[in-house]
């Protein structure tokens, strides 16, 4: 069934706005996916579209008619698409077909996706490749479950150009009222999804009889909008990602000869010979020594989004497949936790604690589902709080990896902002990345002052401990605002001071006014704030002090990084209290402000809190008094930090 090169029918040839044959055949076809509920007439519409645009090779329709006669069955336009025997038997389109057709303006690749529920994976496979969609809705039934599901998935896949064909209008007597009823239903749903309705066109058609497909129907004098092919011809081809920052995922490293070539496709932006480039997540830098080509020997100075290229570097750097190349000025984010807006195709449900392989361009990471935040009901777009995502469902989940991942939020860069999940040899889901409420962790791990050498101290730490009568270390209190961190920290400090301990509390008040006075409360600034507190606490601890910190420190990765500075000296104290209780305490009136929307990114309300997985000590302040909590803490300190000789 090849359709790419057909002659136009006479009616189309007579068009006055003809674009040259050469032009049409040397531009990329626009890719259209046809979706909708099962039996709403997708395949029939496609068959008719082909026939009426003159895109069917000579003899094809006749041979299908003959086949129908042989089998004693009525001819259906859908048979044109149903090239496989199995489909005719079962009466449903099992897999996607891609077929070429054309109007007088351009040619198209038409992707026919199945409507049957269990074949969502095929619908995704088809729609993910498309530039625009035709949503077929039966004029009798209106929107059905798969109509909504497909519309939702189109939205999730980033397809925003949608032509709605309200089909089988002949079966509702070409009723204008019915058309508007269905059209309104569809429009309201798409509006709720957040689609820009300006890109949405709705057309009354009868696919079987060819009304308003190519030719304007005489049955719809009340309709003045475009026919289906007119509507398709107004759709826009995809725009390249040239204006976005450079993203070049390394696909492979070749050493076929004396050159060491990094190969891959540039997903967005430009790359020039001589550019200094940054690799993420490894954070290495090098310069582009050459851009390699074959067979031409001409020097290439620049390459751009969409090209599959190869480059060499000015130094021998060990980099692997999966690193993202960017310019140092505009790198991807680094994180080990993010939110994914996913569609799930796996036979087994997705649940918290399950581990999957995540593929993001050429990179692969092992990720664990930390939490299923919400599952979305496509029928009414409501959400439910359940802890599992079943096959064909859409949901928002939190994913975490041990390693740092280089990502872009999907709304910054679609190429590096979407991922697939693989489980047991199968692709089981796909999703879009959101970093709302999560920090870019790059700054906290980039060491800028590389020419500073650490001075070796001549007084060993153990000697300081001996002199002070106790060991030193960091008691790192973490918990929600209002959980009681500062209260406990100062009470404990008071108690230990009286016992003769060298002890000092670092909290927001003494840090935010000086050391961190340049920082705000964005996720990035919070990360930097905690990094500085961690460094300062480390210095105190090495000076022999027992230092108590009292910061919300909501991100697990930040706390883990402080722990890594001094693993033996770090003690994580989880000051645990239910959000409701903290909100009632509200010592600084912050929750009220956050609820009124006066504070952005408030932990527990609009920003996440990640509780410690394995804290050294957990203090439940919703369940016990301050006195009991201080007693628990002091017991812990005396048993952990006292030296045998001490009191």
């Amino acid at each position: 069934m090849r359709m790419g090169t057909c002659k136009m029918t006479k009616s189309l040839d007579s068009s006055t706005s003809r674009i040259s044959e050469e032009q049409i055949q040397t531009t990329l076809p626009l890719k259209i996916v046809i979706v909708g509920h099962v039996d709403h007439g997708k395949s029939t519409l496609v068959g008719r579209l082909f026939h009426d645009t003159g895109s069917i090779p000579d003899g094809k329709v006749e041979s299908i008619r003959a086949m129908c006669d042989r089998r004693g069955m009525p001819f259906e336009w859908a048979f044109i698409l149903d090239a496989l025997q199995a489909e005719r038997d079962q009466g449903i389109t099992i897999d996607i077909s891609q077929i070429f057709f054309r109007t007088q303006h351009r040619h198209y690749v038409l992707i026919d996706a199945p409507g049957h529920r269990e074949f969502v994976k095929n619908m995704i496979t088809g729609a993910a490749q498309a530039d625009a969609a035709v949503l077929v809705v039966d004029g009798r039934d209106g929107m059905q479950e798969q109509t909504r599901r497909h519309a939702y998935l189109l939205h999730l896949l980033g397809l925003h150009q949608i032509v709605v064909a309200i089909n089988k209008m002949d079966l509702v007597g070409w009723s204008e009222a019915r058309f508007h009823e269905v059209a309104t239903e569809v429009r309201e749903y798409l509006d709720d999804l957040g689609l820009d309705l300006q890109h949405i066109m709705q057309i009354p058609v009868s696919a079987r009889d060819g009304d308003n497909i190519v030719a304007r129907s005489t049955e719809t004098p009340w309709y003045s909008g475009p026919t289906l092919t007119d509507a398709l011809d107004t759709l826009q081809p995809p725009v390249g990602s040239l204006d976005l920052p450079l993203r070049f995922p390394v696909q492979d490293v070749y050493k076929f000869d004396d050159r060491r070539i990094l190969a891959g496709r540039i997903e967005s932006g430009h790359l020039r010979k001589g550019d200094t480039i940054l690799f993420s997540p490894s954070n290495k830098q090098a310069r582009v020594a050459s851009i390699e080509t074959w067979p031409s020997k001409d020097e290439v100075l620049a390459v751009r989004a969409g090209q599959s290229v190869g480059i060499t570097l000015d130094e021998q750097l060990f980099v692997e497949r999966g690193e993202f190349i960017s310019l140092p000025t505009n790198p991807p984010m680094l994180t080990n936790v993010f939110r994914g807006h996913i569609f799930w195709l796996g036979r087994e449900p997705l649940m918290a604690g399950r581990k999957y392989t995540m593929k993001l361009c050429t990179a692969e990471y092992q990720v664990e589902v930390e939490k299923v935040e919400r599952v979305i009901d496509v029928a009414d777009l409501g959400t439910s709080v359940i802890d599992r995502v079943d096959r064909n469902a859409v949901a928002e989940v939190i994913l975490r990896s041990r390693r740092q991942i280089a990502v872009d939020p999907f709304d910054h860069n679609m190429h590096t902002g979407r991922f697939v999940l693989v489980d047991n040899y199968e692709m089981v889901g796909g999703g879009l990345i959101s970093m709302d409420g999560y920090a870019d962790q790059r700054r906290s791990q980039t060491i800028r002052s590389t020419n500073i050498f650490r001075v070796e101290h001549t007084i060993p730490l153990e000697a300081r401990w001996e002199a002070n009568g106790h060991k030193s270390g960091i008691l790192w209190m973490t918990g929600l605002s209002g959980a009681g961190k500062s209260t406990l920290a100062f009470a404990l400090e008071h108690y230990l001071f009286k016992k003769g301990y060298l002890v000092y509390v670092l909290d927001g008040d003494n840090v935010r006014h000086g050391l961190c006075s340049d920082l705000g409360f964005s996720p990035e600034d919070r990360v930097e704030n905690i990094r500085r507190v961690g460094q300062a606490a480390g210095l105190f601890a090495r000076a022999g002090y027992l230092v108590i910190t009292a910061f919300i420190s909501p991100y697990r990765a930040d706390r883990d990084r402080v722990r890594a500075l001094a693993p033996e000296m770090f003690h994580e104290i989880f000051v645990d209290a239910e959000l409701g209780i903290c909100e009632t305490r509200d010592p600084k009136g912050l929750y009220k402000k956050a609820r009124r929307g006066e504070i952005e990114e408030f932990t527990g309300i609009t920003a996440p809190y990640e509780p410690p997985a394995l804290p050294e000590l957990r203090i439940d302040t919703s369940a016990q008094s301050i006195e009991d909590s201080v007693a628990m803490l002091s017991d812990y300190v005396l048993s952990t930090f006292s030296l045998a000789s001490n009191r």
Binding site: R2, Q25, L84, A86, D95, I261, R265, T293, M427
Partner: protein
């Protein structure tokens, strides 16, 4: 980038993915116009090298021009070509119509060659626009241990993320030209000046649009004796490319049966 650059870049990306992800990889080289374009893209992908063997299935019934071309290009391009023979037609499924039975020899020869090299991945130059069942193919298309294609339950494939992990015993067909059309092949062959078997060009009012075995492939009426003339002819042709391939037309399901069993 013009439209040929876009097609080429995608094909190179796919070929590089296959090379990175598949341990025992080979490329099928039928000597036809499509497989020459595919080979050209592979040379671009690896900067003039071909880091895997090329497999050529010899039915011993090809045209003399095809053998001459194969041997010349193998030498000129320094290719590692492994040639595999085919069992006699008498050993094929006798329920298939005659031409399909003859074509099935190629599948049998292919299976034998795959087994000999224990390849886990094969790159093949089929296109979606050629024929209905090929339109349904994935770029990375898994095959069972017996090489069969389960077109009823294909894995999902999106965002250029391909299925590259497979249970032991399965192998994968990789299709880097799936998104090209016949016209694209000719436009690209002209632009890149890729060599071709001369049978594609018209002689005495006939030319071949597609090259199969001598006994089951027929020329079409044409005066197109240059690439420019072929491109001009294709702009207005409504005759299917595989019209000259007898086995496609004997019974409505014979090509589908061939493909489910492992034919390209």
């Amino acid at each position: 980038m013009d439209h040929l650059d876009v097609l080429e870049s995608k094909s190179i990306y796919i070929i590089r993915e296959a090379f990175n992800r598949i341990d025992k990889l080979a490329m099928l080289w039928s000597i036809g116009k499509d497989s020459n374009v595919m080979l050209w893209c592979a040379r671009k992908a690896f900067f003039g090298h071909i880091p895997f063997p090329l497999l050529n299935i010899d039915t011993e019934k090809k045209f003399a021009e095809v053998y001459e071309f194969r041997d010349r290009i193998t030498k000129e391009w320094n290719l590692d070509v492994r040639i595999g023979g085919c069992p006699p037609v008498e050993e094929m499924d006798q329920s298939l119509p005659p031409a399909a039975r003859s074509a099935a020899r190629k599948t049998a020869g292919l299976k034998r060659l795959i087994a000999e090299g224990s390849y886990t991945g094969l790159i093949a130059g089929i296109r979606r626009d050629e024929e209905g069942t090929r339109a349904k193919e994935r770029v990375f298309s898994p095959r069972s241990e017996t090489n069969t294609w389960n077109f009823r339950d294909q894995p999902p494939e999106f965002w250029d993320q391909f299925n590259t992990e497979f249970a032991p015993g399965t192998h994968v067909r990789v299709h880097p030209l799936l998104h090209w059309t016949e016209m694209d092949i000719w436009l690209y062959t002209r632009r890149e000046n890729i060599p071709l078997v001369p049978l594609y060009f018209a002689k005495d009012g006939k030319r071949y649009r597609s090259l199969g075995d001598q006994d089951i492939t027929f020329p079409v009426d044409s005066n197109a004796d240059t690439i420019d003339a072929i491109i001009e002819e294709l702009k207005y042709s409504k005759v299917a490319e595989r019209a000259g391939r007898a086995m496609d037309h004997e019974a409505e399901d014979s090509f589908e049966r061939l493909r489910a069993d492992g034919y390209l």
